[in-house]
């Protein structure tokens, strides 16, 4: 159907040239690429901080940077990676690009808001960068009071303002997705025919809209106490510091699901395509996304076990935390059940999917360790927690993000990435990741506290292993940058459906025309109906 003539056709990339055609675009696909460039930039800034942290930890005596500088390094690493990379990552890039296409729409419901949300991320990012350049911030990404409001004399308000602004970017993206899913589905695209990627983004959007405003309020309160000396969190002024932790984690625990739910959505697509089967228990997987969104709001107190929160509340939150694991486990079991008797192929995206399943399982299970009140008293604020969340956020979310990027790259650019190099990088990332973070479980269990750069000599071996792993990981992350760039010019032409996948996004040209579909598709099948894919060979080159 689509042949080499692809290049001559009008598509969203050749529809306009020049800076203005990008900076004022209302095309969700172009906005997705703006986001892609922006978050890649922030990923590397965050990566520089991570590198410095790992180099510092090579030696137990803290002899590269001062303690004050070290505090700033891990703070800025966390702030950048969480608020300016991982929160926007999958939704704002892959979600922006493919959510409308997957439901057969020509764009998101509010294209201008979509562009505005990108500008908000950039403006928020500029505030954060300003704070970093002006001298940095040292409160940890969690901004705990009263340190952040009364004692720290670093750029707390500037950084917090940046996060505040970026938060509105996230809210607008969520709002846009919710309205789009409700109003813009193509004829025949019923709720239970939607790809699970869309369900996952819908659930994510609910969290973004309901949770992020609380973060905004919390930031305003911190600024009010810091600048106007109101007594909200500072006990010396009649405030309560634990109130900050309640408000902060009311957003930030659900926020970890803003990071992982879209990744789970990507996984459902990858597992289904590369085992050529309908996702086992489609509707259960769909509902488990919504269940995670709801239950995720009931467990935030597991971050406060040692904060001075009442023991009874601790018991309730510990108990509730176990419930969140159920929908997460449902997904993992259903993906593996999908593999059963599937016709599995090992293309790069699938390698990332396998990586996700294994690493997310470890991250999730250790989540149960730390959700257990008694165990958490031992491991809280140690490297065990650091390893737990990196297994989920880096081993899970970033793996899925990269898997999704490889999977949809041909659609986004019209070109294939080089499969051999891509497989190599997936392998390097998997090995580097485990070498970096597995030792941290042991370190934490043995008592290595997080956020310290001076530590007992006997921990050095494990720290050196971890730093060695980080260098391998860094190489793994550089490779895709190089070969993706290379593929833009030299990659094989992809054709409209290189994976012979079922989604609507594969029924249009690669790269897609400016308005996605020449004709709005009429949907007659459920998602992942592999019995119905037309087995047409797609000519390439």
């Amino acid at each position: 159907m689509i042949t080499a003539a692809v290049e001559e056709q009008q598509n969203y990339l050749n529809a306009g040239y020049g800076l203005k055609s990008w900076l004022l675009t209302k095309d969700h696909k172009r906005i997705a690429l703006l986001y892609l460039a922006t978050i890649t930039f922030f990923f590397f800034i965050g990566g520089v901080f991570a590198t410095l942290i790992r180099i510092e930890l090579l030696s137990p005596h803290g002899n590269l940077v001062s303690s004050d500088t070290y505090n700033k390094l891990f703070t800025m690493h966390g702030v950048v990676m969480i608020f300016f990379f991982l929160i926007p990552s999958i939704p704002a890039t892959l979600g922006n690009f493919f959510l409308p296409m997957m439901i057969g729409a020509r764009d998101l419901a509010f294209p201008k808001l979509n562009l505005l949300s990108w500008y908000l991320l950039v403006i928020g990012g500029l505030f954060a960068i300003f704070a970093m350049v002006a001298g940095g911030v040292d409160t940890g990404w969690t901004f705990y009071t009263p340190y952040s409001t009364t004692y720290s004399n670093t750029w707390v308000v500037a950084t917090a303002l940046g996060i505040f602004i970026a938060g509105f970017s996230s809210i607008l993206t969520g709002l846009n997705f919710i309205v789009t899913v409700h109003r813009m589905r193509a004829p025949g695209m019923t709720w239970f025919r939607m790809p699970l990627f869309v369900w996952a983004h819908y659930a994510t959007a609910i969290i973004q809209v309901l949770g992020t405003p609380v973060l905004a309020v919390t930031i305003v309160l911190v600024a009010a106490e810091r600048l106007l000396h109101l007594g909200i969190f500072d006990p010396a002024r009649g405030g309560d510091p634990v109130l900050f932790q309640h408000l902060f984690w009311f957003y930030s625990h659900p926020a970890v699901y803003i990071m992982i739910l879209p990744a789970m959505g990507v996984l459902s697509e990858l597992v289904s395509v590369f085992s050529r089967k309908r996702i086992f228990g489609y509707s259960v997987v769909a509902f488990s996304s919504v269940a995670i969104a709801v239950l995720g709001f009931l467990v935030w107190g597991h971050h406060l076990f040692v904060s001075g929160m009442s023991l009874y509340a601790g018991m309730v939150f510990s108990f509730l935390s176990y419930f969140v694991a159920i929908p997460s486990a449902i997904k993992v079991f259903n993906w593996t059940a999908t593999l059963y008797k599937g016709s599995i192929s090992y293309a790069t995206p699938m390698l990332y999917a396998f990586g996700f399943i294994g690493l997310f399982t470890i991250g999730g299970l250790t989540g149960l360790f730390v959700a257990c009140l008694g165990i958490d008293v031992h491991v809280t604020d140690t490297y065990f927690v650091v390893a737990h969340f990196h297994y989920i956020m880096v081993g899970g979310a970033i793996m899925a993000y990269l898997g999704g990027l490889h999977y949809w790259w041909p659609k986004m650019t019209g070109r294939m990435y080089p499969e051999g190099w891509a497989k190599l990088s997936a392998l390097v990332i998997f090995v580097g990741f485990n070498l970096t973070f597995f030792p941290q479980f042991i370190l934490g269990y043995l008592g290595m506290p997080r956020r310290y750069h001076v530590y007992p000599d006997e921990f050095q071996v494990l720290h050196v292993l971890s730093t060695a792993g980080a260098s391998v990981l860094a190489v793994g992350y550089m490779l895709p940058i190089v070969y993706f760039a290379w593929s833009l010019r030299y990659g094989k032409l992809a054709g409209s459906n290189p994976w012979k996948a079922t989604g609507l996004e594969w029924t249009t040209a690669s790269p897609p025309p400016p308005h996605n579909f020449d004709q709005i598709p009429v949907v007659t099948h459920e998602a992942y109906d592999y019995s119905a894919v037309i087995d047409e060979e797609v000519p390439v080159g």
């Binding site: 609380v214 634990v242 309640h246 408000l247 929160m309 009442s310 009874y312 509340a313």
Partner: protein, 94 residues
Amino acid sequence: MTGHIDSVKTYTTVWIALLILTAVTTTVAYVDLGPLNVVVALTIAAVKMLLVTLFFMHVRHSTKLTKLVISGATLWLAILIVLTLADYISRGWL
């Protein structure tokens, strides 16, 4: 969906009701009811909030989906308050 606009009379009535409730809140603040002071103040605030959403924000005439969105948001606020209070109220228990 947005076709309905209430009469000027309705709006005026609601507005006067809001003013009266404000006056009541202020008056009650000067009477010592012990812990009941907070209860009364919050109840009046909740009633005012309902009046504003139902009449001024036209939720009375809105679709079920809009009502669902509003109840959802209220429920979420309740989660925030209830679970946080679960900590504060039970701190002295042990």
